[in-house]
């Protein structure tokens, strides 16, 4: 029974998803019923998210931590942090999807898939066994493949196909790495693998095989994190997918991907000998991702594509934190906690930006940056929100993005990676160009029409939460810093 209690946050989402599907089957098919179904599905989804958050809070209050299901899952500060983060993101995405749902027949499917993939993501953060990690990864990915192809147009189908084929290849690569880890250590538990690595990782033959497995794992998981050179799916998928799904991909899926990477690399492969190999690898990937992402973002004309490339650059910035993880314990914690903090800060910022894009783009019926001209005159609040989020993405105070960048660069400098921090700062300057171009476009240009518009209620609420959270973290970051430090302490 303890097992089930510890699985509570995931179960709440899964049960909500199941109920939504059952509700869809049970109610009759008619126009009036469709409206009830939509409202009911919406309520059930939000109830599931609330239940999940509530259960996580209960787990904290009852201090119910430890392993579950014979050591395949674990409840600790790290997984609880991600439970809150992912459930919060899912709730925001459900709110942001209201306008999309009004235009489609498949409400139940959409909501159930969002909740199921959120379950997968939470399991990714909590899994400490290779089998569980693999199943969680796939639960998340397969739901997302469907969500990306949710629209009826061929652009959405094309995005979905590209995402699926590349995702399947990345799964195969990850699995190949896992197979060798399993073959070398004879175990699938991350702790057991860690024991093996520290016992016989010094042997040169074993070490070569371990490095091979590490490279395969990093390649496969690189797709999920969307870092160069595994980023080619990002712009197409971001552009083709429905915008709420794009936001979901760029925030939740990325956070869960980093959670898995931190679990595998810091727990199983954290032993000094091996970690010195992958720390350098991550440093190089981080530098290339930031530079390539930002340079490509400069020339984009579609705002979703631009945010896609910028998310590649952001992923590179996260990786700085991982690269900063050195053998010594205090630095390990600083690097890890900087990544966790950045993921939290980035979630609010990016969600805010995407929600604003959803609201604006559906009114002006275009994703082109040029068509954002003069939006500030037509919808001052939305324009202000989007501008604030873009400023936060650039890393200008007093926003969450500024604190997050300072935190990560500090970790890099502490770990003697000054060159990496310098590249990061330079990239921040480059990124200012394309972020602020959008802001300038909205404020300095003349609008195409004088008609003003407002976002729908649920979009407005989601937007307000995101922007408020972003400024709150920017002005008073201590609670989140403490939370991410205690989450990172799991790896100590």
């Amino acid at each position: 029974m303890t097992d089930v209690i510890r699985l509570g946050p995931e179960l709440a989402l899964l049960i909500a998803a199941g109920l939504i599907v059952l509700m869809d089957i049970a109610l009759p098919v008619s126009r009036e019923a469709a409206r009830t179904k939509r409202a009911l599905g919406f309520a059930l989804a939000l109830a599931g998210v609330a239940g999940s958050i509530g259960w996580s809070a209960v787990l904290i209050a009852a201090d119910e931590q430890g392993e579950a299901f014979s050591g395949t899952l674990v409840v600790d500060d790290f997984s609880l942090f991600f439970n809150f983060l992912l459930a919060g993101i899912t709730g925001m995405i459900v709110l942001a999807s209201a306008d999309l749902l009004a235009r489609t027949r498949f409400h139940a499917e959409y909501l159930a898939l969002v909740l199921a993939s959120a379950t997968g993501m939470m399991l990714m953060a909590g899994a400490v066994d290779l089998i569980a990690i693999f199943v969680a990864l796939e639960l998340q990915s397969i739901c997302l493949y469907v969500l990306v192809g949710f629209l009826k147009d061929s652009r959405s189908a094309e995005a979905s196909l590209k995402y699926l084929l590349l995702g399947a290849v990345s799964t195969a690569l990850t699995l190949y790495g896992m197979a060798y880890l399993f073959g070398l250590s004879g175990a699938t538990g991350l702790r057991d693998i860690a024991e093996f690595v520290s016992a016989s990782g010094g042997d040169s033959g074993t070490r070569a095989a371990l490095v091979l497995a590490t490279v395969f794992l990093a390649a496969g998981l690189g797709f999920k994190m969307a870092v160069v050179p595994f980023q080619m799916w990002v712009p197409d998928v971001y552009q083709g997918a429905p915008t709420p799904v794009t936001a979901y991909l760029s925030v939740a899926s990325k956070a869960a991907g980093f959670a898995v990477v931190m679990r595998i690399f810091l727990v199983a492969l954290g032993e000094g000998l091996i970690s010195s190999d992958w720390a350098t690898m991550f440093a190089v990937i981080a530098a290339v991702s930031m530079t390539a992402g930002n340079l490509m973002a400069l020339v984009q004309t579609d705002i979703k594509r631009m945010l896609g490339y910028s998310s590649i650059a952001q992923a590179g910035t996260f990786l700085i934190g991982l690269a900063a993880v050195a053998a010594q314990d205090p630095q390990l914690l600083l690097g890890a906690s900087s990544v966790v903090f950045f993921l939290g800060a980035y979630a609010f910022t990016n969600l805010g930006a995407f929600i604003a894009v959803i609201a604006i783009s559906q009114k002006i019926a275009s994703d082109e940056i040029a068509d954002y001209a003069g939006v500030a005159k037509r919808s001052p609040w939305l324009a202000a929100g989007l501008a604030a989020c873009l400023i936060s993405l650039t890393g200008i105070p007093p926003t969450a993005g500024f604190i997050a960048k300072v935190y990560v660069f500090n970790a890099a400098v502490q770990a003697d990676l000054v060159w990496l921090a310098l590249i990061g700062v330079l990239n921040g300057v480059v990124s200012a160009y394309y972020y602020l171009r959008v802001v300038l476009n909205m404020y300095a240009q003349e609008p195409a029409s004088e008609e003003t518009f407002q976002p729908s209620l649920s979009l407005g609420v989601a937007m307000a939460i995101a922007v408020a959270g972003m400024f709150l973290i920017g002005i008073y970051p201590n609670p989140l810093i403490q939370a991410s430090e205690s989450a990172a302490a799991v790896f100590g």
């Binding site: 199941g18 599907v21 059952l22 869809d24 089957i25």
Partner: protein, 123 residues
């Protein structure tokens, strides 16, 4: 290594010999003039359980087959998880039984969904 695989190799040899021998013997009889050879259209036709063939094999299948194929693949493969439980239900006790019931219930929701969405009907 060889003795272990020898049996498989022997079987392979036998399996090859059987059809080659039959066809070869028939060909030999034909060459010697013992076997009569009077081809006609029906004899030359592709053998398909005795039914007359119609058109080529390269036709586009009705894509409704796809729904059935898909459902079959999914449910067929998911059934694989029942085997590990089925071989030791005693040892897995009540907890195992509940888990299997949960699993089947989730599959059943999927089936009910497909049914309700008319994926099981030949429209």
């Amino acid at each position: 290594m060889l003795p272990e695989w020898g049996q498989v190799g022997f079987l392979l040899l036998l399996a090859l010999l059987f059809p080659i021998g039959g066809i070869g013997f028939s060909w030999l009889l034909g060459r010697l003039g013992i076997r009569p050879e009077r081809p006609d259209r029906v004899k030359e036709d592709t053998y398909e359980c005795g039914v007359e063939t119609e058109g080529t094999a390269w036709v586009q299948f009705n894509f409704r087959y796809y729904y059935f194929a898909l459902l079959f693949v999914i449910f067929d493969v998911e059934a694989v998880f029942l085997y590990p439980w089925a071989v030791s239900p005693q040892r897995l006790a009540v907890a195992g039984f509940v888990e299997v019931l949960t699993f089947v219930a989730i599959l059943f929701i999927g089936l009910a969904y497909a049914w309700r969405k008319k994926a099981l009907e030949w429209l």
